[in-house]
Amino acid sequence: MSSNHSVSGEEARRHKVEGPQKHIVAFILSLALTIIAFAAVAAGDINTTFTYIILVLMAIIQVFVQLAFWMHMKDRGHLFPIICIVAGVFVVFMMVIMAVYWLWW
C-alpha cells in the first residue's frame, strides 16, 4: 500500500467519523420524552383528552428523533429510506382510520 493513499484515507477518516455526542443527546432526548409520557399517565388526575394529546406528541417527537439520529435519516443520500417509511406510514394511516371507521361509526 502506498503511503500516499494511506495518508488521504487517514484524512478522510478524521474528517468524517462523527463523535458519540449527537447520539448521546438523542438518547437523553428520548429518555426525557419517555419520562414525560409515563409521568403524564402516572399523575392520573389530568384531563383525559389532554393526556392523549401529550402522549401522541411525545411519541411522534421521539420517533422523529430516533429516525433522524439513530437511523441516520438526517444524513445525505437518505431520500429513498424516507420515501419507503413515508409510504408505509401513509398506508398505516389509511388502515387505522378504515378499521376504526368500519367498526365504530
Partner: protein, 205 residues
Amino acid sequence: MSAHGHVEGQLPHEPEKATLEGRNKILGFWIFLGAEVVLFGTLFSAFIALRHQVLDGPHASELFELPTVFAATMILLTSSLMSVFAVQAMHKNQVKSMIWWLVLTVLLGLSFLVLEIVEFNTYVSEGHRMNTSAFSSSFYTLVGFHGGHVLFGVLWISLLIAQIFKKGLTVVTAPKIYLSAIYWHFIDVVWVFIFTVVYLMGKVG
C-alpha cells in the same frame, strides 16, 4: 479477501457502503422496513379498533403495570444506544469494542424478552389469555409480534458476532452489522408506539 483488492489491512471509510453489494443491501433493507411499517400498522389498526372489547376479561387499565413497562422501555432504549456505539466503533475500525457493544445489545435484548415473558405469564394468571376477548387477542398478537422481532434480532446479532470472530470485519461483513443496527433501532421505534398506544393509552382508558 482476494475478491476485494483494496482491502489489505485497512478498511475503506464507511465499509458498509464501500461496495455496490453493500449499498444494494441497504437499499433493499429499507424497502423491507417500509413493508414492516405496514405489517405492524395492520396489527395496530386491529388493536386500536378492538381495544375496548374485553368481554369478561380484565380491562387494560386494571391489567397493565407501568413500572414493568417503564423498565422494558429503558432496557430497549439503552440497547438501541449500544448498537449505535457498535456502528461507530465499526467506522473507527475498532473491532474489539464493536463486539463488546454488540454483546451488550444482545444481553439487553435478552433481558427485555425475559421481562416480556414474565409479564405475559402474569397476565395469563390474571385471566387475560389469547382467547379471552378481542382485546386480549389483538394485544398478544401485536406485542408478541414485536417480541418475536426482538427474538429474531437477538439471534441475528449473535450470529453476526460469531461471523465477525470467524471472518473479521470486511466489506462483506460490515453491511450486515450496519443493517442489524438499523433493524434494532426500528424495533425500538415500534416499541415507542406500543408503549404509547397499548400501555399508556390503555392505562388512561
